[in-house]
Amino acid sequence: MHLLYPLIVSAGLFSIGLYGLLARRNLVLVLMSVELMLGAVSLNLVAFDVWLTDALRSGQVLTLMVIALTAAEVGLGLAIVLQLFRQRATSSIDDLDTLAEPR
């Protein structure tokens, strides 16, 4: 298989995740977009690992670590979202502008 197939699918997933990250208003949906971007990165790692036939299998091992990191990231991210929701009663990014420049 040509390396370009996984790379282009991965670029598509990453760009879609980037769009979702910038366009979504709900914090949980923003976290989902981050998941998509991490999935794209993992696909890239696996593709390059298979291409290079690395003896240490660094690409696939790193993918497993990215998956574990994702679990940690989602757990902490949702804890923060939950705490924000308890204090502000909202999970919308537009309402969380305490640290923003005054308009």
Binding site: L3, P6, A11, L18, A23, R24, E35, T70
Partner: protein, 242 residues
């Protein structure tokens, strides 16, 4: 010279018109935005190409890469699953219903499992099902539930940034694809190597060479777990007072 023949002869293929922006002087006459993006694209692709030129010597130039016209079965399967994956991802970020967005994320991550299987990464595929589809998406659905996200069609799930986000997404995709095509169009994966993603191979690598990062990762997971519990406890005040 035919690039495939050049690759087989061990010389660098000569640069041709398509996508070779560094050779195309008319780009400089465009407005500053286009020139800037072309510069970034050229710089990135030059770096990637220089890197891939050293990497591809073994894998590509030795065995002359097949043409893109001879499509193999695994490529067809990969493209089909890839279309499903990208389509589900697109629906996930554009859906106006938060629960449906989470379920489209399941489809996208499940498609990613299929892509890993085509790439012969079996263990990664299994772990992906267990953790992403089994744990992460359930956690996200919990998150939607506890933040009392309104179920059903919602007109205002996107911020006012949406046009900017579309431009950024499309520009990122264009730049990435241009750089990738320029750098890796001769790279070819050999999927017939036996067991390169099997649990045994990955397990040996993980508990052999990579055991220290693995242990550090488990400490990090523990720290994240404790952090999440500490953040969401109700009986401790913000300043640590009961």
């Amino acid at each position: 010279m035919d690039p495939y023949r050049a690759a087989a002869a061990g010389t660098r293929p000569e640069r041709r018109g398509w996508l070779s922006m560094d050779a195309n002087l008319s780009w400089t006459t465009y407005p500053a935005g286009v020139a800037g993006s072309a510069y970034v694209c050229t710089a990135v692709s030059a770096r990637v190409r220089a890197r891939s030129a050293t990497l591809t010597d073994r894998t590509v130039h030795a065995a002359d890469a097949p043409s893109y016209v001879d499509v193999t079965g695994s490529e067809i399967v990969f493209v089909l699953i890839g279309v499903i994956t990208v389509g589900a991802a697109l629906l996930c970020v554009t859906s106006r219903n938060v629960v449906r967005a989470a379920l489209w994320l399941v489809v996208a991550l499940g498609g990613l499992v299929g892509l890993y299987l085509v790439l012969t990464a079996e263990l990664v595929a299994i772990v992906q099902i267990l953790i992403y589809v089994g744990a992460v998406v359930v956690l996200l659905l919990f998150g939607l539930m506890v933040t009392k996200a309104p179920i059903g069609h919602q007109p205002d799930l996107n911020t006012a940034n949406r046009p900017v986000a579309i431009v950024v997404g499309v520009a990122a995709f264009g730049l990435l694809v241009a750089a990738l095509i320029d750098a890796f169009r001769f790279a070819y994966l050999d999927l017939d190597v036996f067991g390169q993603g099997s649990p045994e191979t990955i397990g040996r690598a993980l508990f052999g060479s990579w055991v220290l990062p693995f242990e550090v990762l488990s400490v990090l997971l523990l720290a994240a777990l404790i952090g999440a519990i500490a953040l969401t406890r109700r009986d401790v005040g913000a300043d640590g007072r009961r």
